[in-house]
Each structure stands twice: as C-alpha cells, then as structure tokens.
C-alpha cells in the first residue's frame, strides 16, 4: 500500500500500535518491572523515525511498519535513552539534508545532535565529508566534519560528567543478535542501493547516500567485533533503500524464468528473506505477549 497525504496518518497510527509492544523488552527490568520513561522514549523514537522515513521517501506502509517494529527490538536496555535520541536525530538529519536553504542547515545541526547522543552517528558527517572532499567542496567538508566532531565531543563530555563513561565494548552476542534481527533490512537495502532506483525515491537525490552506506558498512563491521557501535544507527540508512529493494524483488519473483537460464531465484531469495525475518517476528510477538501479560497481571 502506497500511502498518500490522506492515509499517512493511518500509517503512523498503525506504526504506534506496532512499536508499542516491540518496545516492551527494552523497557522491562527484572527488578523494577516496565520502566515507563524508557518505554515512551523507545516507542516515540521508533515512531518518529518511521514518520521521517514516510515523509522523505515514497515508500509503502510495510517498510514504515517494519522500521516501527524492528527499531525498538534492536534497542538494548542500557542505551535506550541516548539511543532513542540518536535515532530521532539521525532520521531527522537524513530527512532534512537533501533539502536546500534552512532545512539543510537544520539537517546539519540534527546530524551534530545525533553525534552527541551516540558517536556511531559519525557515519553521517564522515559520509558527507568523504563525498564533499571527493567533489572538491572543501568548505562544506570542513563544516560537516567540524559539526560531527563538535557534537561527539559535547556528547562525550556530558556522558563523562553526568553518567558512566560511554560504552566502548558490548557483549558480542548481543550485537550479533541485533544484526540478525536487522538482516532482512540489510539485504533489501543493499539490493535497493545496487539497483540504482529511479526518481521515485527522494532519497536518490542525496549525492552522499552511497558514501554514507559505505561508512555505515565499516561501522557495522566494527560493531560485529564487539566495539561500542550502535548497529541500529548503521543499518538505519538502508531503510531508505528498502522500497527500491522490494520493488526489485517483486520484479525478480514476477518472472518464473528470470535472466534466461536461472530458475526460481526469486522464490529462493524470497524464502531466504522469510527465514531471516523470523527472529524479528518472534521478537515482536514476544513483546506482544509480554505486554499482554503485564496488562492482565499488573505491572
């Protein structure tokens, strides 16, 4: 379903309904029960990111809802508050940076704020700087990297002064579990990026998107080794490419003998995708059950 201006609100409302149970596991604490503040932040940030995706790219409702379902599940309890802030700021930056004038400036500020919330968001200024240097725009490049570094330094200073030092190491199996949840998005996003979509997606006009994805890939690789990288922020960029990936997959499945001699590839890829989606679906149903139990038996 491709939402238009009239049906956008319905899509966002359903996103709220999807994100609410998905945020339960991140907000649940064995000793304190469900922490409402964490639950609200995680739900709100996922819905906000979904709304940004809906506004900035002409995607179908399914893609928006997948972000609403998977983003809370990919948020760990320890980093939920700052991670939620980073998710909001990053998605806002991706939405605003492809516009001119004041919106672009707001996008740069948002990018800096995202770096303050989570240093992983540095993939955005690094990507922009990389592209600007490649095209000879040295002034823009210096602005991007300065804003990113300033945001990261501010966030680092606040973290050191008001809370524990920022995480530099995470449990590897936790990161791998998160990556397993997000693999369908990576797969569709990679395919969408490689498919060079047409002008249907507004994200395509962003010249630095390809370099962003490259920087995010490096960040994802570092996250897989257990460094304190927020893999959700790295994968987030590929959600903007999921619509074109889905369209490409539909075209692949649509032909029984696509490509002349290779049969059933579309069906096989669809099956792989369905298997990869199982951890996300199980996690979401787990959140629904947890919410149901908490509602019926009291918090």
């Amino acid at each position: 379903m491709m939402p238009n201006r009239n049906t956008r609100w319905w899509v966002v409302l359903v996103a709220v309904l999807i994100a609410s149970p998905a945020a339960m596991p991140a907000a649940y604490d064995a000793s304190a029960g469900v922490r409402l503040d964490v639950w609200l932040v995680v739900t709100a940030s996922a819905v906000f990111a979904s709304a940004c995706l809906l506004v900035s790219s002409r995607c179908d409702a399914f893609t928006v809802w997948s972000l609403a379902a998977l983003a809370p599940l990919a948020t760990s309890a320890e980093t939920s508050l700052t991670g939620g802030g980073a998710l909001i700021a990053t998605s806002l930056a991706v939405t605003l940076l492809d516009h001119g004038s004041w919106r672009h400036a707001a996008g740069v500020l948002s990018m800096s704020l995202a770096c303050a919330c989570d240093v992983t968001a540095m993939v955005l200024p690094i990507g922009c700087t990389w592209h600007a240097v490649g095209t000879g725009q040295w002034r823009r490049a210096s602005v991007f990297i300065a804003m990113g570094l300033a945001g990261s330094a501010a966030g680092w200073w606040v973290m050191w002064s008001v809370a524990d030092p920022p995480l530099t190491r995470l449990a590897v199996h936790e990161t791998h579990r998160t990556v397993m949840l997000l693999l369908p998005v990576l797969m569709l996003g990679w395919a969408g990026q490689a498919a060079r979509p047409g002008a249907s997606s507004r994200a395509d006009v962003m010249p630095w998107f390809r370099v962003w994805c490259l920087a995010a890939s490096i960040g994802l690789g570092l996250g897989l080794t257990g460094l304190g990288v927020n893999v959700l922020l790295c994968v987030l960029l590929w959600w903007w490419r999921v619509p074109s990936g889905l369209a490409d997959l539909r075209a692949l499945i649509g032909h029984s003998r696509t490509g002349g001699g290779v049969r059933y590839v579309g069906v096989l890829v669809g099956m792989v995708l369905a298997i990869l989606a199982v951890p996300g679906l199980r996690g979401w149903f787990g959140g629904v059950l947890m919410g149901w139990l908490l509602l019926t038996e009291g918090m």
């Binding site: 990576l186 080794t225 002349g260 001699g261 792989v272």
Partner: protein
C-alpha cells in the same frame, strides 16, 4: 613431530601464542594455493570470493573447537599438501609431473593424518574412471605409477628417520591399533545448526547453480588436465565421501569438518560458474538475478562469519598468557612428544574402563 619442528623454528615459552605464527604460515599458504586452484578452475572473477569462503570455513571450524581451541590440529597442517594434490590432479597437464606431484601431496597429507585417505581414494578412483571413460588405460597406469612413486618419496624419509631412531615398530603398531579410533557408525545424527553455518554461502551457490540452466558446452577447459564436467564429478564425489566419513565418526569435534570445506567450496565454484553461463548480463533481468545472488551471498557470509568473530573476540578478551603457559606446560608434561600415542591409548583404555563400570 611436525609440532616439535615448529617449536624448533619458533622457539619460545610453551604457549599457544608460539603456535600462532606457525599456523598462520600454514593457513596463508593454503589460502594462496586455494586461490590458484580456484583461479584455474573458475577464473579470477570468483577466485577471491571462493577463497574468502574457504578461509571463513577453516577458521570457523578451528575457532569453534572446544577441546584445544582449534590450535595445533592436524587438519590445518594437512591443507597445503591436500590442495597441492588436487591442484596437480586438475591443473598440471604433463602426466609424469602430475602423477609425481599428486603422489607427493597425498604422501605428505597421509603423514600428517590418515584422514587424507579419503582424498587419496577419490583421486585414484577418478584416474581409473577417466581411463575407463576415454579407454586410455596405459597413460592411466603411468599416472598411477608416478603417484605411488610420489607417495613413496614423501613417506620414505620419515620411515628412515623413525627406523634410525628405533621408533618404527612402535609407530607401526600405533598406526595399526589407533587408526580409526573415532570411527564407529552413524551415531551422532544430524550435526547442530552452528556447525553447518560456515558452509551456508557455499550451499547457496550450489543450490542456485543446481537449478540453473547453462547454455553452451562445458567441456572446453584448456587450462585443466581433465574436462570441466569430470572435475565437477570428482569434487562432488569427494564432498560426498568426506560427508559420509564425517557421519561415521563418534566424536563431535568441529575441526573434523575442516576437511569438508575444500570440496564444499569447490562445488560452490562449479555452481556459480553454472549461474554465470546461464545469465545474459546484457539484459536487465540477468543483471537483476546476478544482483540478488550476490546480495544473498553477502548476507549469508555475514551470518557465517558471526560465530567465528564471536569466538575470536571472546578468546581475545579472555586470553591470559600466564595461565595459557601454565596449562600448556601441564599438557606437555602429561603428553610428552615421544609418548603421545601411549598417553592416548591410556586415555582411551581409562575411558572404556570407566564407562563399563569395572575397575
């Protein structure tokens, strides 16, 4: 003996850290040889990806090993001679040189571990199969004679050394008594999922390649000593034999799966070549199939890499050199190099006595 020589080459305190450069040397040599073999069989375009799959598989099965954390396994040292034998068999054209090199490779691999007998059998059966198919019996006999000569050349120095030291009868008795100690029928059942994960990308290429419908003939392979189809038959048969052998083992050690990786990845190479010959990349549909096969492979490689990355990080974070040296010294004291077979026999006998409940 090989490990002892390794320690002579890289002297240091008894620790697994001392083994790292030695094992790295053997593994890097195996990667290089595998790349050469893949490049001859499937071209440069896929040699890199196949070597990546090969390296991922080997390291996964050593990193997931629980008994000795994958260090000092014979399967790692066997890779180079086994690959040399396969390379000679498939890619060396002059028959005398081919037979001799193949024999040297098989001989060295058999010296490291008797598991190389599977490859030895597969190669000999393939030579005979080729002779029957093409009705060329005399060259095949020459080929086999040179192979036997190569095996003899590889084994002889070791036999002479053992005889000179007076250890030959002891080693031959061990060979008779301890060979096949862990073979005992189909008792382990289907291996757990994490053991099969490293082979997932290769399985994907085999699956898609198997379903493809290539155009044109495959027999023209001027850089190979056999036809492309015959090489494919050999690799698939080798993979099947290794898989059946693995299924008969009674000890669920992951390093045994290392021997499965070479034929599995080579089979994947045949799969991807079939796909390539099936596609018309000038058309958008062909490009689309290629894109999706590539993306799915990348995702499956990521999944396959996660266990080995996790194991590497866990080992790296928890590694304590002092503790490792202490444990390793205890191993060396309990398992002296000159009496390892005796220690193994005692361990096995103790285990049997304990399990039967008798003193």
């Amino acid at each position: 003996m090989l490990t002892g020589w390794c320690y002579r080459l890289a002297a240091g305190p008894p620790s697994r850290v001392t083994l790292v450069p030695i094992e790295t040397f053997f593994l890097v040599a195996a990667y290089a040889l595998f790349w050469c073999l893949s490049q001859r069989l499937f071209g440069r375009a896929y040699a890199g990806a196949l070597t990546l799959m090969f390296a991922l598989g080997q390291n996964s099965y050593t990193a997931l090993e629980s008994t000795n954390d994958g260090f000092d396994t014979n399967e790692t040292y066997m890779l180079v001679p086994m690959l040399a034998a396969v390379y000679a068999h498939l890619a060396v054209i002059p028959p005398v040189r081919r037979g001799l090199l193949r024999g040297l490779g098989i001989g060295c691999a058999l010296l490291v571990k008797q598991s190389a007998a599977v490859l030895c059998g597969a190669l000999i059966v393939h030579v005979l199969f080729e002779a029957v198919i093409h009705r060329r019996y005399r060259p095949a006999m020459v080929d086999l004679a040179m192979t036997v000569s190569g095996v003899f050349l590889a084994v002889m120095p070791v036999l002479v050394l053992l005889g000179a030291r007076g250890w030959l009868s002891l080693h031959l008795a061990d060979l008779r008594d301890l060979s096949g100690l862990h073979v005992g029928g189909f008792t382990l059942g289907v291996p757990p999922g994490y053991v099969l994960l490293p082979l997932l990308p290769a399985a994907w290429w085999v699956l898609v390649g198997g379903l493809s419908n290539p155009q044109g003939r495959f027999d023209a392979a001027p850089t190979l000593s056999v036809s492309w189809r015959s090489a494919c038959v050999l690799v698939v048969a080798w993979f099947g034999t290794e898989a059946v052998t693995l299924a008969t083992l009674i000890k669920p050690a992951t390093h045994y799966y290392q021997l499965l990786v070479i034929p599995a990845v080579l089979t994947a190479g045949f799969g991807i070549t079939r796909i390539t010959r099936s596609l018309d990349v000038q058309q958008s549909a062909g490009m689309r199939v290629r894109r999706w096969v590539g993306v799915t492979t990348a995702v499956l490689l990521l999944i396959a890499a996660m266990p080995v990355i996790g194991a590497a990080v866990r080992h790296g974070r928890s590694f304590d050199r002092t503790e490792d040296e202490r444990v390793f010294s205890a191993w060396l004291a309990a398992w002296p190099a000159y009496g390892t077979a005796d220690a193994l026999r005692k361990t096995v006998q103790t285990g049997r006595t304990t399990s039967s409940g008798q003193p």
